[in-house]
């Protein structure tokens, strides 16, 4: 899987969702459709949506069919997304057609007789009408259990058959057009059911335009609370201060000098400051006047204004950064976010968590009751957060930090997201930890996407700390560490992932290479042996397996592996170089082969245009092994040049040492264990 791709995809979804949350239209303003069956052996349908009046534009959802008023014509209830959210579409059709309607009572089958197939046979036609009693169809809907057959003008009923669930078929007598019948399983007869005479015909009244009220004024109570993110406002002297002050409830208020309702609201607070102080509530009133202007200018507007009105609470200036955090919080907490009007206020509890969001002014009386609610039980809050009386079964979905961090990320602030998450500690609640781990995983992935690798590593590490079974996070962490050549740190994670997902070869490869890098050739060889036996065509597995075997004193096997690898990939510089080095420098006479080593080294040097440091090192060693020390020194000098350019001190030291040996006409021989 390619994480970057997934995240590009995920971002597209996020963008779509955010846009819809904002209130954008999306394939909206579509009208409901009605299609008339034109009959015949392979009937076609004709669009009559407009002509029959059903083409309303409601974002329709579920349709439940019923002859609601027993007038012999099918009506339907339809639920909508827009207003009104429910309609009863009454069938006012005028035709010469007739109907018959039956309700079934199961005896040996299920009592509702759901699944029963009713067949209506008509005189003079071989075709029959079938209807099945269903409980649930369409989308989110269930239609009536009355089974309603239309009977075309002039047609006569020949018979009615019920195929009860389970397979028994029964002829039913006594059915006639224009009536409603009850049919009990096994009785063979239909009993006429009389529509209550009192049923009045359905009326219509003119409907006012759809009610879509603005949400300038609303009190939104949180059923469960999340911390208000760390946001800084400006004090009047320009000092940046964190808005959350734990220890007592705080009302953060947005206002402006030009906003009359704001002023009225502030005056009412000033008037009742004693009550507010008694409630233990602190108010932080942040001005949004001239947001983009320098602090001094803004202070010049706000300060005299306040002094005149003797506002007794803390006052500050909101800046763009503060409003952005406010918007993050609003988007995370309100289902359909609309820019906050002024005045708006947010009531935080003593722990700095968002308790109530007010759009529009708040009265002191309201504040008093809401402050009293801060310590309320979950059950009370659930009721308070609901719009009407009712019964909760499971309760609202508990708020998780995920919503908040999603918003931070859609504002391009993954670091702020991580910072927000960091205030949640590992708790005893396994599920909460798992959710939090997922959040860290998402943030880590986003940070990685933005190439902020160090923070990404921290986020992934935190994810697995919260949820040790989070293999995806562990794999991402290990991969990052591996790519950053932090092999020692990568090793324990790679080991765990390999145990959990033994079939993923890529992880095992990373593990093997990390083991080689940390000189654990015993274990490296174990994994590489596995990899090369699983896939004998895997050149690199063979090569690194050989590499480890040489260091374990099993050079003979290693040589065989290198040669097999060379057969598979005759042009691979890596393979040629590894084999040439072994042949040029190994102490075992059985393996030592300066002539072939030189041939191979020259081949690879030519192929790499003498620009590869390691190839040159091998070439020099092969030249020295063949007694050509003058050339060897020249070659090693070229290699030293490359090492200098690469600023690789470790290899430079090695090369210098070898150079001294060549000057003393001593070929280089590896000191390795011999089996």
């Amino acid at each position: 899987m390619n994480l970057n791709r997934i995240f590009a995809y995920r971002k597209a979804w996020k963008a779509l969702n955010t846009m819809l949350e904002e209130g954008r239209s999306y394939s909206g303003f579509e009208r409901n459709c009605a299609f008339l069956n034109l009959g015949g052996g392979q009937p076609q349908f004709a669009d009559i949506s407009g002509a029959c009046g059903l083409d309303l534009m409601d974002d329709g959802r579920a349709i439940a069919v019923t002859d609601w008023d027993f007038d012999g014509k099918l009506d339907f209830w339809i639920s909508n997304r827009t207003a009104p959210r429910i309609r009863l579409q009454h069938n006012r059709s005028q035709t010469r057609n007739n109907f018959v309607s039956v309700r079934l009572i199961g005896v040996s089958c299920n009592r509702d007789a759901v699944g029963a197939r009713v067949e209506l046979l008509l005189e003079g036609t071989p075709s029959k009408q079938i209807l099945t009693l269903r409980a649930g169809e369409g989308f989110l809907a269930q239609s009536s259990k009355w089974i309603h057959f239309g009977i075309a003008d002039g047609a006569q009923i020949k018979g009615l058959k019920v195929l009860w669930p389970g397979g028994k078929s029964e002829e039913i007598t006594g059915v006639e057009p224009g009536h409603f019948f009850m049919v009990e399983q096994g009785s063979g007869k239909a009993h006429k059911w009389q529509v209550p005479t009192k049923v009045k015909p359905l009326q219509t009244i003119p409907v006012a335009k759809d009610i879509v009220l603005p949400s300038e004024s609303a009190r939104i109570v949180m059923a469960s609370r999340l911390p208000f993110p760390e946001a800084r406002y400006l004090e009047l002297d320009g000092k940046k201060t964190i808005a959350v002050e734990r220890g007592r409830p705080r009302l953060i208020n947005l206002w402006a000098t030009w906003c009359a309702p704001c002023i009225a609201e502030m005056d009412s607070w000033t008037k009742k400051q004693a009550t507010l102080r008694e409630l233990g509530i602190d108010i932080l009133a942040l001005s949004v006047d001239k947001l983009d202007n320098p602090v001094a200018e803004r202070r010049a507007i706000v300060k005299p204004f306040l002094e005149k009105r003797k506002f007794p609470f803390t006052v500050g200036l909101a800046d763009a950064g503060f409003l952005e955090v406010l918007e993050v919080a609003g988007r995370a907490q309100i289902d359909k976010y609309e820019s906050l009007p002024v005045p708006s206020s947010i009531l935080l509890d003593a722990k700095g968590r968002i308790a109530v969001i007010y759009k529009g002014p708040v009265e002191v009386k309201r504040l008093a009751t809401d402050v009293a609610l801060l310590g309320a039980t979950k059950e009370v809050l659930n009721v308070e957060a609901s719009h009407f009386q009712g019964t909760w079964i499971e309760g609202p979905w508990p708020a998780t930090p995920t919503g908040m961090l999603d918003k931070f990320m859609s504002f391009g602030q993954p670091e702020a997201a991580k910072h927000y998450l960091d205030q949640f500690t590992v708790s005893g609640d396994e599920r909460a930890n798992r959710d939090l781990a997922e959040s860290y995983f998402i943030v880590g992935s986003e940070l990685r996407f933005q190439k902020n690798f160090n923070e990404s590593i921290k986020a992934f590490a935190h994810a697995i700390k919260l949820d040790s079974k989070k293999t995806r996070a562990r794999l991402e962490l290990a991969t990052l560490l591996f790519r950053m050549q932090r092999y020692i740190e990568a090793l324990p994670h790679l080991r765990k992932v390999v145990i959990e997902q033994p079939q993923v070869h890529n992880t095992r490869k990373m593990l093997s290479l990390s083991l080689i890098q940390t000189n654990d050739h015993v274990n490296a060889a174990r994994h590489l042996h596995y990899l090369s036996s699983i896939n004998p065509e895997d050149t690199m597995a063979k090569l690194w397996y050989g590499h480890s075997l040489v260091r374990l004193g099993r050079a003979t096997e290693a040589e065989r592996l290198f040669r097999e690898a060379l057969n598979l990939q005759p042009d691979s510089l890596l393979v040629i170089n590894e084999l040439a080095w072994l042949l040029a420098t190994h102490t075992d006479a059985e393996i030592y082969n300066p002539v072939e080593a030189l041939k191979l080294a020259e081949q690879s040097a030519k192929a790499s245009k003498k620009s590869n440091l390691r190839v040159l090192d091998t070439l020099a060693a092969a030249q020295a092994a063949n007694g050509d020390f003058v050339v060897a020194v020249k070659t090693v000098d070229a290699a030293i040049g490359l090492a200098l350019a690469a600023k690789d001190k470790r290899i430079m030291g090695l090369l210098q040492k070898r150079r001294e040996g060549y000057l003393k006409k001593r070929p280089y021989r590896e000191t390795l264990p011999v089996n």
């Binding site: 239209s25 029959c52 959802r61 827009t82 009454h90 989308f139 259990k145 239309g150 979905w397």
Partner: protein
Amino acid sequence: MNSRSLTNRSWLDTAIVLVVSLLLGVIGNVWADSETVSGRSDGLEFHRRLVDEFVNIDPGENGWESESFSEAVSIEMKSIAKLLVHPDGLAAKELEVRLADGFISGPLRFTNLETINEGGSMRISRPVTDSEKTKKSVRRGVEGFTEALNYLANVLKNASERRAKFKVMHVEVKGDLILTKMLFEMHGKTTKGRRQVTSTWHCQWILADPPKLHSIRVSDYREVAPGKNGVIEFIDVAPALLSDVASYREQLAMSFDYWRARSDKSLVADLLGAQGVIVGDVNGDKLDDVYILQPGGLPNRLLIHQVDGTARDASTESGVDILDFCRSALLIDLDNDGDQDLAIGLAWKLFLMENDGKGHFTPRGGFRSEGQVNSMAAADYDNDGDLDIYVCGRDASGAIKAEQGALGIPMPYYDANNGGPNTLFQNDGDFIFNDVTKAVGMDVNNQRFSLACAWEDFDNDGDQDIYVANDFGRKNLFRNDEIEPGRHVFVDIAKQAKVLDIGPGMSAAWGDYNNDGHPDLYVANMWSNAGNRITLQKQFLPGADKATRAQARRHARGNSVYLNAGDGTFFDKTQSSGANMARWAWSSNFIDLDNDGRQDLVVANGMISAGDSGDL
């Protein structure tokens, strides 16, 4: 009174392009790496090239820029539609600026019509021949166009409630000439009933700002009017029926968005507004009552049908005023005691309530669903005399998401199998239901984004099969096989039955629409204007073969009509059915609108309508 726009909207434009892409699954397929695509065990190969193209797609070269042209054309056609609605103001001056030099048009209205459905409840008529496309009917210039428009508008002479609309279906750029195909519809209410005109306009435009109309040819002309045998008409009676019901005025009369803007996200957490409605006889008086599901924080409503025809809100006294987020419910007799109990789909739970026979309900516990509950449907799958319940679980639970790594977003878009699992709950008596999904073999292809399902004995072998409509992919048709007496298992035969119907499935309905005794199938999928416009262009997936293009196009093609062949398979009648273009469909039901004994169709429609500018 908003202080100022607090939002940085710069990303919004990008987002719009992304949305159009999403319609087509363009971005969705970036997930599809080689492992996902190759080596399918079921032999269903997605065109490799399609996937590659989706990964590397360049909006600039694949037809997106003509979307802006489509917008310009829409604006032009909007004013022409306006003229048709208010023909009195049909002034040559207004038209002149819109027409190119040498403008030429065939007839916009045909008069030599024949009735397709003689004796039907509505008269559907179409031109007898194309004979009117003679030189005589050719109109030229502004005068000709004015005359033709006037003549068309005259179909609705003296009509009220007039409406006219064009939908741009297809844009093809040919140098300076642009060809568009548009759907036209016009309605109005005359003294003799409602009339409707639909047709297809093929137009040529000269590239300019704004574009200038160069020629028009009209095809597929249809008129719908009251028929000899009567008229089909519907009207919403809820406002009158529920005028005394407080919850209608205070809750249901307000849109979903109204409540969303006032709600803690943890209450509602959904912008689809997909809340169901069910009817059933709650108190045994044989009159249907109605139960309306609501989002979290708003209590579900039970309206009891009174003997005098009115409805009374009995939600609270019946104990069913549930505040939890609910999508669906079923009124069924769960314990065979002769009354209708309630099975309610809470977000992650099948919740049961027992009816005391008088319409009072007592909670009887619930059973967890690992998929977020959408539609449900009951049937006695094992014919043991009680009702079992199939629950569609569209989105995966947190636990599943955490394991599988797709973050809950459908991947790949065209064939996602990382949604929530559906569950078959077997009724084991006394309100105990057991998850038998795996035991009956329904756990294959089971993590699709299922929105709807419908039971039917489609092969007439005496047991109930089920069709499942999945979003973002293929559908399931689980055939019920009784392998030994009383033991039933299911096999997903959607592919061999030819009802795989790969696409964004929304709803499923069975009905024998040709009255041959074999139930046929109507499956709702989204029909997307933008999706069609883009995928129909030649420059979409340039060089791609026919099959590949067809597959891309299919995602926006609309509702499917499958005629039961009677041999366990279906004929795909979508293209010839006339019931294909049903817009962004949700519930799509068979219903005999005019009692002529034939199954007609109604389709609920529209994704998100919002009051702002520019629908996506």
